[in-house]
């Protein structure tokens, strides 16, 4: 699918500037609202970087959905499970790199187990049944992880620096405060996407997976059994969950709420379009930035904790206009 570049160069900056001007206008009328361009950009950047984290979870969803049309509700609990396992292994004295590798192995085993115990018996069932089965996995993994490793909040420290830094100190008064951790998280996210892109473009397995995504019949002709493909995809999604879990976990501690925060990836997903990796990324950035700006600039008017629902309502309203999401393929129905 050829993508037109120009709109993407114009629309986002235009939207950001437009939003800024709007808020500036409001603050001119109403002194309750504090607005400077430096502050606005700071909030925007913080939100966008937060959005990268949502994108990471959404990425795992998209991988599985593209390859198997399964909407994997359990991606969030896979994040929690991976993080819990890694912290647990580090607690046994393993260096974080070793723990990371070992956990990656666990995630592959988990993927195989899920394929064997859940997906294979349910093959050819309606999508909705598989969807509900992944809700079952969601519950199971949440319980399993906490049964194994306990439910207290755990620190996960792999040595990512946390000191905030200031940028653009000449342009804006006081500069813009940026969280170093978030920047690194974004870089890791970018690296992960790059690695996945190479995997899908260059390796034989990756190309086979792409073939499945396009056409299940075609995949069979590539000569790879569907169940292997599913196990591989779930493994890849599991490793994406692990990376996500490490980033989220080091940011806010490893705890049950991780699985619920990961639910935020759902609106990201439908905003971006279920089958699109760029959609997952762009969707995450929009939602991250959007909810941060709403929280900071709207809470004086409608109360705080807007972040609880903003992403969902934004995605819902957006879908009313464009039901297939930003990058999703237009759904044409036929009889």
């Amino acid at each position: 699918m050829p993508m037109r570049i120009l709109p993407w160069l114009i629309i986002p900056p235009a939207a950001i500037i437009g939003l800024g001007l709007l808020l500036q206008g409001i603050s001119a009328i109403d002194s309750q609202l504090y607005f400077t361009w430096g502050y606005f950009l700071e909030v925007l950047i913080a939100g966008t970087l937060q959005g990268v984290m949502y994108s990471l979870v959404a990425l795992g969803f998209v991988l599985i959905f593209k390859a198997s049309s399964i909407f994997n509700f359990a991606q969030g609990s896979m994040v929690l499970f991976a993080a819990l396992t890694m912290v647990g292994l580090m607690g046994w004295g393993l260096h974080w790199t070793l723990a990371f590798l070992a956990t990656a192995g666990v995630m592959v085993l988990l993927a195989m187990a899920i394929e064997r115990a859940v997906l294979r018996p349910l093959v050819n069932q309606p999508h909705i049944i598989l969807f509900m089965a992944t809700i079952g996995i969601f519950y199971f993994l949440d319980g399993f992880g906490q049964t194994l490793w306990g439910s207290d909040v755990k620190q996960l420290d792999i040595g990512i620096p946390r000191t905030p830094i200031f940028i653009f100190e000449e342009t804006f008064e006081g500069g813009i405060l940026v969280n170093q951790f978030d920047v690194i998280a974004a870089l890791v996210g970018g690296a992960l996407v790059a690695i996945l892109a190479i995997f899908f473009q260059k390796t034989r397995i990756g190309r086979a997976l792409r073939a499945v995504a396009d056409d299940h019949q075609a995949a069979l002709s590539v000569g790879i059994p569907l169940k292997t493909i599913w196990a591989i995809v779930w493994s890849v999604a599991g490793i994406v969950a692990l990376v996500t879990g490490v980033m989220w976990g080091s940011k806010m501690g490893v705890q049950f709420t991780l699985a619920l925060i990961a639910l935020k990836a759902l609106p990201v997903l439908i905003l971006g379009g279920l089958t699109s990796i760029p959609g997952a990324i762009v969707g995450g950035l929009i939602i991250g930035a959007g909810e941060q700006i709403a929280e900071v600039f709207l809470s004086t008017y409608i109360g705080s904790a807007i972040q609880d629902w903003f992403a969902y309502v934004l995605a819902m309203l957006f879908l009313l206009i464009r039901p297939q999401g930003l990058f999703g393929e237009k759904i044409i129905e036929r009889v």
């Binding site: 809700i135 519950y139 439910s151 439908i270 819902m316 039901p323």
Partner: protein
């Protein structure tokens, strides 16, 4: 007496279309109801009433509601908790505003209020389907809970953000909410109320509206081509479903827990009710009851069983095990019998019909 339908010829369409066309079923259901009405109040302990039967009835109403939307009309919703909260808070506001109005009427009004909210959040279903819609209903869940937590107006400015059920009588001295309400009163009221609501649901799903819902569920394009307006069918399903769920939320807050905060209706509540209808049986009123019973009893069984065999497990471990077992059971049911307990029950009846002479 054998369980047979042979010899019971239906002479007219009315009896062929009856809820329980087989006489033994009719008698059985009547006996169960009479037992529940006339015997249980005298023999049940307060624990049985308060911790098992009342929540069972409350959840049954919610499960019937969600089953109408998801099981009959095919629109997956994850917003159940939000709609239950609507019912609870609407009831609270209405009954503190108009204490003289009968509580039954208040419940129904809260149900209608929730139906309106349900219609509003059902509008996306006209444009989006399936997974997209399921996620969009999460907007209802999170937005509504936020609204009730953020606005002290909803709790009449209670500093703890909690609503407490004021004493209200159904008639005379028959209190069903508040401290004066005895467990038996609550139970009896809920029993009759739930039975009436279940009857209404059954009537709807076996009439024109129900067939329109099922047509939309099974093949929406064909449904539209035979003249069903998708908007009317889907929004009516959202409305009726939310009506039931709202009433269930009101009953939860006023009769089960007696005092409640919005967080009691978090997203986990939505999943819980969804599980009930999956386990009980999608598209089955009976299944809604079976699923509710299962989900109410399972945690109780889980927390008592280890103790019964002499094991002492820490509370949080039990909670985690419960999660695991729930999840595994969901998967198990979907694999073994996607149509849930209701279908198993039906298969059992088929067997019984052949018993003792299988041919």
């Amino acid at each position: 007496m054998f369980y047979r339908e042979a010899g019971q010829y239906k002479s007219d369409y009315a009896s062929d279309q009856a809820i329980f066309p087989i006489r033994q079923d009719r008698i059985g259901v009547l006996l169960i109801f009479l037992f529940a009405l006339l015997v249980i109040p005298f023999i049940a302990t307060n624990y049985l009433l308060n911790s098992i039967l009342v929540p069972f009835l409350v959840f049954s109403i919610a499960a019937i509601g969600l089953n109408i939307l998801t099981g009959y009309c095919g629109q997956v919703s994850l917003g159940t908790g939000g709609f239950m909260a609507c019912g609870a808070f609407f009831t609270f506001k209405l009954t503190t505003w108009m204490p003289e109005v009968n509580i039954l009427l208040i419940f129904l009004m809260a149900g209608f209020g929730t139906a309106l909210v349900g219609i509003a959040f059902g509008i996306p279903s006209l444009r989006i389907k399936g997974f997209y819609l399921a996620i969009a209903t999460l907007a209802a869940q999170f937005f509504l809970i936020w609204m009730f937590t953020q606005n002290p107006w909803w709790t009449n400015y209670n500093p703890a953000g909690v609503i407490t059920a004021p004493p209200r009588a159904l008639f005379g001295n028959f209190y069903i909410t508040g401290i004066e309400a005895t467990p038996v009163n609550k139970y009896l009221f809920l029993l009759c109320f739930t039975a009436a609501l279940a009857l209404v649901a059954k009537n709807l799903v076996r009439s024109a509206l129900g067939r329109a819902w099922m047509a939309i569920r099974d093949m929406d394009i064909a449904a539209e081509i035979i003249g069903i307006r998708p908007m009317a069918a889907k929004l009516s399903a959202f409305a009726v479903s939310s009506f039931f769920i709202g009433i269930s939320g009101a009953a939860w807050a006023f009769m089960y827990t007696a005092s409640v905060e919005a967080l009691a209706f978090e997203v986990t509540r939505s999943f819980q009710v969804l599980f009930m209808i999956i386990i009980g049986g999608l598209g089955s009123i009976l299944g809604s009851f079976l699923g509710a019973a299962f989900i109410v009893l399972l945690p109780i069984a889980l927390s008592n069983l280890p103790a019964m065999v002499g094991l002492r497990l820490p509370v949080d471990l039990i909670a985690h095990l419960e999660f695991m077992i729930f999840g595994a059971l969901i998967v198990f049911f979907l694999i073994v019998e996607p149509n849930g307990l209701a279908r198993l029950w039906q298969i059992g009846k088929e067997k019984l019909r052949r018993w003792p002479f299988p041919y």
